[in-house]
C-alpha cells in the first residue's frame, strides 16, 4: 500500500489552470484568451480536455436529475414545499406524485416534517420542481437522517456505488443518499444505524485521501469490528 496520502491540486478563483486552445472550460472555469481560468475555489478535474473545478465547500446547488432528501415545511392545494438545505425551497406538485391526491387532504400523504426522497425535475429560475414518479422515491419512514457536506456525497457513494454498497454489506442497513448531503439510514437495530453513521462520518473526514476505499475497509473491519458480507442485496 502507498503510505503517501496524495492530494489533488486545489485552485483559487482568478488563477490560470491550464493554457492552450485545445482545452474546454467546464463548470467553475472560464476561458480568457489562451488561458482557462478558475471561477470557483476547489479541486481541478481535467478529463479529456474538459477542465472543471469541483467545489470543496459551500451551499448545495440543485441540478436537474439530482436525487435529494428534504423535509416538508409547507403545503397548499397544489402541492408540498420541501426544504432540502439549499438556497431555494423545492416544490412537489400533486401532479408529480404517482397516486391520487385529494386536494383538501394533502396531509394524508405527506405531513409537515415528513422526510421525502425526491428527484429534481427542473430548475426554472427561482423555484425547484421535484418529482417522486420513480421507483425508490417517496416518503422515508423511520430510520435516521444524517447531514454531510454536499460536496462529499460522491465520496460516500464511491465509484458506481462501491462505497455505499460496502457500507450496506457491512451493517445491513438500507441507505438512501441525497445529492444535497442528506443521507437516510434505516436498519433493523439502532446499533447498525449508529455504525453506518460512524462510517459515513469517517468517509467525510478523510474524503481527500487517495485509496479511500481500502482505508474505509480497514476502519470497518478493525475499528468497528464488522464483517463485510459478500452478498449483494441489490
Amino acid at each position: 500500500m502507498n503510505d503517501k496520502e496524495e492530494k489533488r491540486q486545489i485552485i483559487v478563483p482568478g488563477e490560470t489552470i491550464v493554457s492552450g486552445d485545445e482545452y474546454l472550460p467546464g463548470e467553475g472555469a472560464r476561458r480568457e484568451g489562451e488561458d482557462i481560468v478558475a471561477s470557483k475555489y476547489g479541486i481541478v478535474d481535467i478529463s479529456e480536455k474538459l477542465v472543471r473545478v469541483v467545489p470543496l465547500s459551500g451551499v448545495y446547488i440543485p441540478r436537474r436529475g439530482n436525487n435529494v432528501i428534504g423535509q416538508v415545511v409547507d403545503m397548499n392545494s397544489a402541492g408540498w414545499n420541501v426544504e432540502f438545505g439549499s438556497f431555494v425551497q423545492g416544490f412537489l406538485p400533486i401532479s408529480e406524485v404517482p397516486f391520487y391526491v385529494n386536494r383538501n387532504e394533502l396531509r394524508e400523504h405527506f405531513d409537515f416534517d415528513d422526510m421525502i426522497f425526491a428527484k429534481v425535475s427542473g430548475t426554472n429560475g427561482r423555484s425547484i420542481d421535484l418529482s417522486i414518479k420513480m421507483r425508490n422515491l417517496g416518503k422515508l419512514d423511520e430510520g435516521m437522517v444524517v447531514r454531510v457536506n454536499p460536496h462529499k456525497v460522491p465520496r460516500v457513494i464511491g465509484k458506481e456505488g462501491s462505497m455505499v454498497n460496502m457500507i450496506k454489506d457491512s451493517t445491513g442497513c438500507t441507505i438512501s443518499v441525497g445529492q444535497n448531503g442528506f443521507i437516510w439510514i434505516k436498519g433493523e437495530k439502532i446499533e447498525d444505524e449508529v455504525n453506518t453513521k460512524k462510517i459515513i462520518m469517517y468517509i467525510c473526514k478523510n474524503s481527500s485521501v487517495k485509496g479511500l476505499t481500502e482505508k474505509v475497509k480497514t476502519y470497518i473491519e478493525k475499528d468497528l469490528k464488522l464483517k463485510i458480507k459478500e452478498e449483494n442485496g441489490n
Binding site: 483559487v12 478563483p13 467553475g28 475555489y41 459551500g58 438556497f87 481527500s208
Partner: protein, 235 residues
C-alpha cells in the same frame, strides 16, 4: 519624490515597502458556509459567509441576480477605548465600502432573489481593519464556493509627512509632524489588477498618489499570495 524624508526606518523597524507580518487561515467557523481569518501585525479580522440564502425582507430581493450584503463590526474591546457595541456611522460606512470592493469579484447571476451574507468581526484592531476585513472576506467567499471572477486583496498606504509607507499601524496613522499623516486604503483584484476600493483621508499630491497606488498594487500582490496559500493548505 522631490524631498526625501529624514526618516530611514519605521518605528517598528520595518522598511517602507514592507507590510506587517501576515497570517491567514480558512475554515475557522464550522457553522458558516465559508469562513476565514486574516491577521496583519496585531490587527485581526474574522469573516463568515452565509449563503446564498433567501433574502428577507423580500422587497430587497433582486429578481435578476443575487446580492452581496456585508456587515462589518468592531468588537467592543478591540481598541484601547471601549467602543459602544452595535452600529455606528463608521461601521456602516465600512460595511458599504467593503461590499463595493468585493462585488466586482463575485458573480451572483445564478442566485436570483438570494443574498450572500458576509459578517466581518474585528477582535483586535491596530489600524487597517477594513483592509484585513476585505482580505478575510474574500477568502471566506471563495471558501463558501461562491462563483468568483478573481480574488481581492486590500492594504492601506500611509503618508507620514513626505514619506510613503505600506500597511500603516495605528502609531503611524496618528503621526502629526510636518504635513501630518494621510491614509489610503486600497483594494486590488488579483487577476485584472483593477482597483475596487480607493479611499483617501489627508493631504497628498498627484505624483505621490500615483506612487502610493503602485506601492499598494505590489503589496496587494503579496497579500494575494498569502490568501492563495491559506486556501490551498486546507484540510
Amino acid at each position: 519624490m522631490a524631498i526625501k524624508s529624514k526618516f530611514t526606518k519605521r518605528s517598528d523597524g520595518r522598511k517602507f515597502d514592507e507590510a506587517r507580518e501576515m497570517d491567514a487561515k480558512v475554515g475557522i467557523i464550522p457553522s458558516a458556509d465559508g469562513s476565514a481569518m486574516f491577521r496583519s501585525g496585531s490587527t485581526i479580522a474574522i469573516a463568515a459567509v452565509h449563503g446564498p440564502r433567501i433574502l428577507h425582507p423580500q422587497h430587497m430581493q433582486n429578481p435578476k441576480k443575487g446580492i452581496l450584503r456585508v456587515n462589518y463590526n468592531m468588537m467592543s474591546f478591540s481598541v484601547d477605548d471601549r467602543i459602544r457595541p452595535g452600529l455606528s456611522k463608521r461601521s456602516q460606512e465600512i460595511s458599504k465600502v467593503t461590499e463595493w470592493a468585493l462585488s466586482p469579484c463575485v458573480d451572483l447571476e445564478e442566485f436570483k432573489g438570494n443574498v450572500v451574507d458576509v459578517f466581518i468581526q474585528i477582535p483586535q484592531a491596530d489600524a487597517g481593519t477594513r483592509a484585513a476585513g476585505i482580505n478575510a472576506a474574500a477568502m471566506a467567499l471563495a471558501h463558501a464556493g461562491i462563483p468568483m471572477k478573481e480574488m481581492a486583496s486590500c492594504t492601506a498606504i500611509g503618508k507620514m509627512d513626505k514619506t510613503l509607507a505600506v500597511d500603516v499601524s495605528k502609531e503611524e496613522e496618528d503621526f502629526s509632524e510636518g504635513e501630518g499623516s494621510t491614509d489610503i486604503p486600497m483594494c486590488c483584484l488579483s487577476r485584472t489588477k483593477k482597483i475596487s476600493l480607493l479611499q483617501l483621508d489627508g493631504k497628498i499630491s498627484v505624483d505621490e498618489l500615483k506612487e502610493a497606488i503602485e506601492m499598494g498594487k505590489i503589496a496587494c500582490g503579496k497579500i494575494n499570495e498569502i490568501q492563495a496559500k491559506a486556501l490551498k493548505e486546507i484540510e
